[in-house]
Every structure is written in structure tokens, then in C-alpha cells.
Amino acid sequence: MMEIVRMIVVLSLITGTAGFVLSGLKVWTSPIIESQVLTYVQGPAIKQVFSDMANDPIADRKKFPKPGGGPEDQVIVFPILKDGKLKAVALEGAGKGYGGDVNVIVGVDTSTDTVVGISITTHKETPGIGSRVSEPGFTKQFRGRTLAQAKLKKEGGAIDAISGATFSSIGASEAVKQVTSWYTALKDSIKTTWQ
């Protein structure tokens, strides 16, 4: 019996200590990890949309309450500044594609309310078929569209879906639609934040 008690105590103590140390480490590293993830996943996508940036949108990012979400849900907005003034913003949205979520960075010009461009960050579409949504042939179509135009043709927009990859195209378009709806809701608070 003594042996069983000892077994239980030693093993629970080891795991308990591990839990304590690790959660401490997590608290310390989580902000660093977050900015690392943004730099290496969203960063390149933002750079692709805005070829000339004067600031670092990752470092200047701000969180806003998610429109229509719970009290804890947040949306990250990446500002593109020129001479200290807000020129455009980038947001990331997600839409359900064929294999899973298609995550898209959408750049929106704040003065004209038009789409500057989009870039796919992550997707799980079939290689060679659905994955074509991340190719310029598809993403280029969004350039310069107004918010209302930035959806598929069959929904009344101006974008051609990729033939044979309808679900993936819908996923990407859903993601863009999500961003435009967030942008519309947050437009005023965004503008007051960065002037």
C-alpha cells in the first residue's frame, strides 16, 4: 500500500511541478510567440499586398472588439501608414473552403474604401486544384474593387470563380466578405485610432 501511495504522490508531484513551470514559461513567451507568428505568417502576406510600406504594420497592430462577436473576441487590424498618416489597413478573414478554412489577408484603402489587394496566408485545399486560389490569376481580380464588388459574380460581385475549384473560390470570397463587413463596422474607430 505504501508503495502505491508513493507512486501516486511522486508522479503527481512531478507532473504538477511541470504544469507550474510550463504555465509560467507560457505566460512569459506567449506575447513573443504571437508577434513571431504574425511576422512569419501574416507579415509576408501583408508585404505582398502593399509593396511599399513606410512602417511595420505588425508592430503597429491594434486589437479591436470583433463586430457581432462575444466580449472576448477580437480582430487584429494592421495599419499601413505614410508620413504618420493612415493610408490603408490590412485584416485577416477566414472562409470555409473545400478542405478547411481559407485564411486571407485583405488590404483596404481607408480613403477610397476600395480593396488594395488580397493574399492567402493559409489554406488546406487540394494541391493543384483548390490551391490555385493562392495564385495571382485569382487574387489579382480583387485589386481596386469596391467593397460591394469584392465577391463572386454569382453573388452579384465582379470576381470570376476558378473553374473546377468552386468551393475554394467561395472560401476565399467568404473570407474577403468577412473582412469587408468587419471593416465597415470598425471604420470609424479605426480612423480615430490612427487619424
Binding site: I4, I8, S12, L13, T15, G16, G19, F20
Partner: protein, 293 residues
Amino acid sequence: MIAESVITLFGLGFVSASVLSVASRLLAVEEDPRIEVVTEALPGANCGGCGFAGCEAYATAVLKDPSVPPNRCCAGGPDVAKRVAELTGKAAGDVEPMVAFRRCVKVEGKVARKYDYAGATTCAGAKLLDGGPDACRYACIGLGDCVRACPFDAMWIEDGLVHIAPAKCTSCGTCVRTCPNGILEIIPRRARVMVFCSSKDKGKAVKDVCEAGCISCGACVKKCPAKAIRMEDDRIVIDHKACLAYGPSCEEVCVKSCPRDILRCLKPEYIAPAPETEPAHFPEESHVVDLNA
């Protein structure tokens, strides 16, 4: 977050340790404690010389199966046999002494050859190539798998044929399990007659490939007054127990009846029990069954 992590991991450690310790109590399997004792008494080499898969398997068998003798451990020798006999309550001495025996007389020219084999020098390797280089599928291939397998150095190859030194043979049966053609057999050392062919082919097929093989004529089966000989798959099987029980009064009528001279009396040197002390050099004649006798 810290509290949740600590509680979850602590709980996980606690639950798994408790489940395992309780399970180890509830699910403990009772094993015959004597198995461990007998296993301890064995050398623990797991050589398989006893014919069982390792020392523990033999210990289990010798305890549970009354027909398994206590002296099967070749690596341990008589001391271990005595100890196992004590532990199991079996008599060490009431076991028929056995010896390995080669059921083939393939010598140069008697078996036709299909091709010259130049592959890996193992019988198993040669066997993979169209059943071996000999026309007879049951002939000794002679590349010495059994020689390498023999834990007691009791075999060697001569003229493409395996030879057995009965004095060194402990009848462990390793060679029997190794031979890909199954030409080796464990027989009682007292055996009087033995058949020197293991072919399962019919008479015509044997005649085509071997000058000496058994043609399954069945003469010996008919002649034997003890009914100790029978045919199984066109292969002669001798019931040594019945043969020995009948005794020498038949005057080996089976040997005389064989038209191919494939059934022979065994030389007394071969069938005699192994001498206590091993001679430094085994005399040429006495260590093999003399095929031309």
C-alpha cells in the same frame, strides 16, 4: 491559466498513477511460482537446444507436461538435469537416450544434379533456387546450415554430405529444425534399423533422380513381423518402440527385403551411448554410420 495548467497536469499524473496502481493490483496474473524457480535453475541462454522457445518455455512445459523429460537442457548438462528433476519430481534417468540421424545417402554420383550452385553458401539459400541444386528435393544439400546451427560442434560436411559425431550429439534437435529439406531425425540410440532416405516421391520419380533412394515398394512394411514399419506420404516411418519391443528374433527381415539397400542395420558404435570422456580425436570409422557397410 497557471492554476488550470497545474491542476490539469497534477490531475493527469494522479489519475494515471492511481489507475495503473489499482489496475496492477486487480489485474495481477497469478503464475505458477515454480516456473520462475525452474527458469532460474536453467542457464538462461535461451539457446533453444531443448526444442522449446527459450528457457522459460521449457520450464513451463516441463512443469505442466508430464511427458517432457527434465534432462532436455543441453547447455546445462547433467547438473541442471538433476536440479530440474528435483524441482519437478521427475526421474532424470528414465529417458531414452537419443541421437540425431541423417536420412540420406547422397554421395558423389548417386543423385543427379540440376545445376551448379554458386550462390550464398547456405542450404536455405540454395533451396530458394528451384528447390536446390540436386534433382532430389529431399537430398542433403551439403552446405552446412545444420553444422553452423549445431551448438555442440557435433556435425561436419564431407563430400557434400553432412556427418554426425554421435559422441558429441546431445539430441537437442537444433539441426532437425534447421535443415530446409527435413532429412535429419532424432532416433533412439538403441535403434536397430533405420532407413537412409527421406524422399516423399513415388518410386519412378525417385529412380529418375537417385540411384540409391527408397522407391516406396513397401516390401519392408509387409515383411516386418512387429508391424513397426509403415508408409507415410511414400516415406518409410519406423516405430522404434515397437521394433525394440519385438527384439532381434526377426533377424532384420526388413533389411534383407529391401531391393534398394536403403534400410540398414545401424552399427553398434553409432547406437551405443556416448562415452563418458570424449576422445581427443574421434576415429574415422566410428563416428559416422558407415554407408558402405
